[in-house]
Amino acid sequence: QSETDSIFVGNLVDYTGPTAFVSKFYGPGIKDAVEYINRNGGIDGTTIELEQIDYAYKVPQAIATYKRWTSNGKMVGLQGWGTGDTEALISFVAKDKIPTWSASYSGHLTDPTGINPKTTKPAPYNFFYGPSYSDACRAMVQWAKTDAEEKGIENPKFVHLGDNHPYPNAPKEACAEYATELGLEVLNPIVVPMAPGDFKAQCLTIKDSGANYAFMANLGGSVVSLLKSCKTVGADVTYMANIWGGDYLTIEASGAVDYIFPTASPFWEADAPGMDLVRKMYEEGTSDKSQKPTHHYIRGVCSAFYMKEAMEWAKANGGLTGENIRNGMYAKTDWVPAGLEGVCEPSTWTEKDHRGTTTVSVNKGSLIDGKVQIEKISTVELPRRDDWIGY
Amino acid sequence: MLQVATEPKKAAAMENDILLAVDNIEVVYNEYVLVLRGLSLEVQRGSITALLGANGAGKSTTLKAISGLLKSEDGKITRGDIKFDGQIISNQEPDTTVRAGVSQVMEGRRIIQDMTALENLKLGAFTRKDRANIADDIDLVYSYFPRLKERTGLAGYLSGGEQQMLAIGRAMMARPKLILMDEPSMGLSPLLVKEVFGIIKKLNRDFGVTILLVEQNAAMALSCASHGYIMENGKVVLDGTAAELRENEDIKEFYLGGSGERKSFKNIKSFKRRKRWL
């Protein structure tokens, strides 16, 4: 089977739907990386044929596309995207043995065996690079705790802001539980719609509730609107974002000040050893260059490179089948893809635990005089607690 | 005396006096229903011309073909043409036709029900440039139909007859050269029928408006018209001056209700074969 000189990988992207805001960066990251890999010998001579399909965040469309891809039996891997479609495809990819690297970081995707009582469906073929939504939020909470201590806030209050929707809901319970554990007072979550709008009503409620730390689980326009509205209302709260909700574009558009957000990779200008390679890939790549990439682009690159090295392992250990590639993901520990040192966090996947990394960088960004300024303020190393697998 | 209309008269001398000339038109609905099959007729300037015919003969279709309203019913003139005042107006947009001086009183009145009578009248003057005279013309209409003035509510709540008056009044408001009237007496009480015909005559006499009148009340129509056409199955089958038509035996029988003496409807029991001109 490994005789074929190319293998097929499907890639679901959302360039026109509600999450296009970030997919527009993540998708090109994958594409540029795969092109780079192909230009440089592919998987030991096998090129990766990547097809990006814009499914506009519509689950049925994603499934139809998936079926088209699998119908000829050639697909060996899937670079997925959103929460809805990734969850919908869990049993498909498990049955078809197609390893999937999604950009949905829902906690329960990290449970390959169904060990957590809350897991409804084990996800043996699902991977993602980066901390899970729950872990990222836990890191935010942990930072908030130290921050509160530093600032001398007594009895700090924490609130979750987000729509009643699978994606913002993903870390809600897990994060609240940990916040309570850390001694923060957890207020009732406040629902903020995913679509942008005037959110002064919500901001008034936030202000009234006396929250000190607010975790915004939405992304894009919704976050921008919320920050603008709350600025008008004048709520004195530290806003913390989800990994998709924090980038220089959001800060620029919202005019945020002291905005806290997690990342799992350096920023574009950072001088980590592997960043030269990333920038080279970008320069040589064919994707749209009208906008400076965000850190989402870099996670896309990492996702592609983990896939690449797992494939290399598979090719050397029995051939490029989905099952082998999956085993390739378990082959290394504290794994950083070659050439991307300092770019991708060292990650470990095991058959029982698909949390690649639990290390979260905490950043603070502000718009000062029309310039976005971001600094990394801390790194949170969360413990790999067993009760947090799949949660 | 009577002419069969298969050979359209082309008296060159009269050419100038002919306001409307429909020349051998064919009308198709929905791309497959052929309704008019080579219909020709002429209306002289300043005359009242009556167009009579059975239900479904195509009278309303003819009027819609002239005014251009056919289009909005998925109908089309596929052959022949219509000349108004020397200009070809077939398949033209209806508003252009109205501007050229043709008004239509549509079948079933078609007043704008959720506007008042006054607003309906104002709307009738939509194409007019001389804003100053509009108010006078509204008064004129009121003088013709005094009861319209009393009704200030929505036109949709007027009774059938009142709506008919409004429709005629509305057509007058455009100060047209030619009014196409589709069954103006329908649903009117005998008194009002007389009134309406009186008004049609008055319009014609006082303002020199030319009228093409489609009517079922043949006796009335022929009494005020100077010329008449009889249609059947999409064609003109008979035409002549009103006087000639009034004397025609068939017309007497089928349109005027017997020759002189009143017929008793009660005794018509047996199936009666219709005489046709085809």
């Binding site: 805001f21 009643n164 008034l204 509730s209 558009a253 | 549509m106 078609r110 506007m115």
Partner: protein, 297 residues
Amino acid sequence: MNWFLLTQLLANGLIVGMLYGVVAMCFVLIYKSTQVVNFAQGEFLVLGAWVCLAMVVKAGLPFYVAFPFTLVFMTIFGILIQTVILRPLIGEPIISIIMVTIALSIIMQSVLNWTFGNSSASFPQIFPVENVSLFGLQVETAYIMSLVLSFFVMALFYAFFQYSKYGLAMRATAYDQQAAQSLGVSVGQVFAMSWAISAVVSGIAGIIIGIVSGVSSSLAVIGIKVFPAVIVGGLDSIVGAIVGGVIIGLLENFAEFVDGQYLQWGNLYTIAPFYVLIIILVIKPYGLFGTRDIERI
């Protein structure tokens, strides 16, 4: 009971509601003259906002220049949409035309995303004071503008429909296209006019919303969001649009209050208007100010 929060929320609702009212008016205008519900309304707003933003940010024009240019642009756009896309459909079933506006929204959404990107962007500061205090509540200056605007536009529309010749023609066309045509009304022209007016007002509303919430293509959902306002006021009532907008604005904020303080239900804010909408409709099937159909036989 937290009176302070409640009054703040209600004041906010009143102000936001006015803006809903303006957007609702754009719907009403189209409906009143063409019987069509414009599902691309949201995109019209976003278009206006993006075009103005592009002129301000990219071309560096001052706002007071960009603003009128945007309105000119929207006028042309409205006419173009009507002549190219909607004119051939005159006289066709309304539902098909509504479908066309849906397709139009798909196209516009893509074109907007393509040309202006998927990210959010903000207007630079436009008014010397960004916020003013109203009933002890901080309110964006843009909203004050919209307040003035909504009354102005409302009065204008009202007079237009009631007294002007074209206003009458629009109402007549909506009621019975064929009859209007028979009176010399050019249906195409009237429709072009109403689309142009609606596009202009949408443009203005879009800019205000953009200033307040940031411009992004997903702002288009506001088009759907004001449906309750349109319906509560009555589909064909200009005054109703404003009243409906205010009611929905107040309601949202009141729901937020009840939810946050007592129920903890979640998104009552988004959903409450729809419950109330149904209740109002069952009591008043044509909204508060809509004209009822004449049901004579």
